[in-house]
């Protein structure tokens, strides 16, 4: 067998191994996306539903109407802040878990994963019980005399921020932990032997080398946040909307599928652009590492 044949053969078996997952992606991801795009160009006639013909009105509406722009801005802002919070809270935790030699390590990791083992709705109702106007937190603060009237923690940005950060923190911690565990310790020792204290070593060596992990953890949390539906629906209530709840409403309550498709397509597009951008960043950081 010559080299060309063996390359072709290994390429063929590579595709063979990939085909189940490729097929799945094609059916559950690309096909709906391909169906959604033509839908978004159809007119919507109130009372009748989807008309025939071609229109850009949904995209124009989504990109110019203040109402939609505000929700889009809010969603991206939420994604950005939740990601940052998960990073700030998650990095020290992941660092500790990756480096500790404590016998409790596996229990601590279990504790990090624990929120994921709870039902999403149960977990969210837990937050409602805590954050509501007559909830545990406000009651406690009033009893202690720290505040006179309840602080609004629910059905607004704060509520979503708290709920989403809590849910997606484990993802960030797990990704960062894996990245930090694989950092070569010799390199840090080398930095210290050259006169770098703990802080300088961290800033100049550990942090830059864990950048690929930071980027992939951030992409994951960002995408999960902007596409989260149940938590924003429950913690945001019916009036405080984000993109996913807006799309949900267009599809299932207003039956305006064309506008829903346009919004969904735009959200997907923004996510893909952000993922592609940060992957390129991660590749550069990874290539440097």
């Amino acid at each position: 067998m010559n080299a060309g044949q063996s390359t072709r053969a290994s390429l063929r078996s590579g595709y063979g191994l990939l085909s189940p997952s490729l097929l799945l992606l094609l059916v559950i991801f690309l096909a709906p996306l391909a169906l959604m795009l033509p839908m978004s160009f159809k007119p919507y006639i109130a009372g009748q539903g989807i008309g025939t013909g071609f229109t850009l009105e949904h995209f124009v509406k989504a990109l110019t109407d203040d109402y939609y722009l505000e929700i889009a801005g809010r969603t991206l802002m939420l994604g950005g802040i939740v990601t940052s919070l998960c990073l700030v809270i998650g990095y020290p935790l992941a660092f500790f878990l990756a480096r500790t030699r404590s016998r409790l390590r596996s229990w601590l990791i279990l504790l990090v994963i624990f929120p994921l083992l709870l039902n999403l709705v149960v977990r969210t109702f837990g937050w409602i019980a805590l954050l509501a106007n007559r909830g545990l937190i406000n009651d406690a603060l009033i009893t202690l005399g720290l505040i006179a009237t309840p602080i609004k923690l629910l059905f607004n940005f704060t509520g979503l921020l708290i709920g989403l950060t809590h849910i997606f923190l484990p993802f960030m911690v797990l990704v960062l932990m894996a990245a930090i565990e694989h950092l070569p310790r010799d390199v840090e020792d080398a930095a210290r032997s050259l006169g770098a204290g703990w802080l300088v070593t961290f800033w100049k060596v550990t942090l830059p080398l864990s950048l690929p992990g930071i980027v992939s953890g951030s992409i994951l949390v960002f995408v999960l946040t902007v596409s989260a539906l149940v938590t924003p629906r429950l913690l945001g209530g019916p009036t405080y909307k984000v993109m996913s709840t807006l799309i949900f409403e267009q599809f299932l309550q207003l039956l305006n599928w064309p506008l829903g498709s346009a919004l969904a397509f735009l959200l997907t597009l923004v996510s893909v652009i952000l993922i592609a951008g940060s992957s390129a960043l991660a590749r550069r950081a990874g290539a440097a590492a």
Binding site: P184, D186, V187, D189, A190, A191, R192, S193, L194, G195, A196, G197, V200, T201, K204, V205, P208, L209, A285, A288, A289
Partner: protein, 327 residues
């Protein structure tokens, strides 16, 4: 005065004593090779000197100052790792500059010192490359340049050549030794390769099970091993009897027992031609096997032939019984 002195240095891991009251001294500008089988505690010693491991007992004294409690980044030492441990996200220049920058060197002085360090390891012109764009040997040179750039009081080398192929390893042996002598820098070299230790070091310390077995010049350790462990770890030793050892190159293989030398009858098991010598594997009457490296100019014996091994009395070393010390 820039020598390094270890005083009763001890490290325990639970029940196991990794380093047991090790006392040794490296004179200023000398290279001491710390050799021993894997797990003998040699790397632990180096890491304690570096400050990366805290000793359970004993002191480390560098250039007259007790540095036992000094944190790593305040000890002025150059560390070279087996894994190179270069900063992968920095260019070669930035790698070498790292330690200098920590010492406040900036601007043109920094550039000059980085270039000088790279020139010393013959890597001029590669400063803008990333470590991954260099070969293993070049990476190890960068690591060396990075370590010497800060003019450390002592250079610590932890198996620096183990990841290199055989040819490169010999080249780097000479390179490290040249650099160390040019800079007159005190150096501690940890290796499991006794040949490396013999060719490079001013003095050799043989470590076994965390204890110092012998310390001396390469010739001392090779010619006058203190015990059976040292004799068989550093070079190859033939035990003619339980306690009498002769090096393979000091044995000759002859047809008849000579009058003027010690000898024993043997049977030839293997005769292998190795270029500069013939390597014989021989069996004594009691079944003990010997190795003899003989110049290929005399008579060549075939496997199965009977012969005699002979050696000069002064080449044989009488050693304390090998049962006296552990493993």
């Amino acid at each position: 005065m820039s020598g390094l002195r270890l005083d009763e240095l001890t490290k325990r891991y639970g029940e196991i004593t990794a380093v047991d009251r090790l006392t040794l001294e490296i004179g200023e500008g000398q290279l001491l090779a710390l050799v021993g089988p894997s797990g003998c505690g040699k790397t632990t010693v180096l890491r304690m000197v570096a400050g990366l491991i805290e000793p359970d007992g004993g002191r480390v004294n560098l250039g007259g100052a007790d540095i036992t409690d000094t944190p790593v980044h305040k000890r002025n030492l150059g560390l070279v790792f087996q894994s190179y441990a270069l900063f992968p996200h920095m260019s070669v220049n930035d790698n070498v500059a790292f330690g200098l920058q920590r010492r406040g060197v900036r601007g043109a002085t920094l550039d000059a010192q980085v270039s000088r360090a790279l020139a010393m390891v013959r890597l001029d012109g590669l400063g803008l490359r990333k470590p991954r764009e260099l070969s293993g040997g070049q990476q190890q040179r960068v690591a060396l340049a990075r370590a010497i750039a800060i003019s450390p009081q002592v250079l610590l080398l932890d198996e620096p050549l183990s990841n290199l192929d055989a040819t490169l390893r010999e080249e780097m042996r000479a390179e490290i030794r040249r650099l160390q002598q040019e800079l007159r820098i005190t150096a501690l070299f940890v290796t499991h390769d006794q040949a490396e230790a013999l060719t490079m070091a001013d003095r050799i310390a043989v470590l076994n099970g965390g204890r110092l077995e012998q310390i001396g010049s390469p010739e001392d350790v090779y010619r006058r091993p203190a015990n059976a462990f040292v004799a068989s770890f550093v070079g190859r030793a033939n035990f003619i009897t339980e306690t009498l050892a002769v090096r393979p190159e000091d044995l000759s293989v002859v047809a008849a027992a000579p009058d003027d030398a010690q000898s024993r009858p043997v049977r030839v098991l293997v005769a292998a031609f190795a270029g500069a010598a013939i390597h014989y594997t021989l069996a004594l009457d009691d079944g003990r096997e010997l190795r003899a490296h003989v110049p290929p100019d005399g008579r060549v014996f075939r496997p199965g032939e009977a012969a005699h091994v002979a050696w000069a009395k002064e080449d044989a070393v009488e050693l304390p019984s090998s049962g006296a010390r552990g493993s």
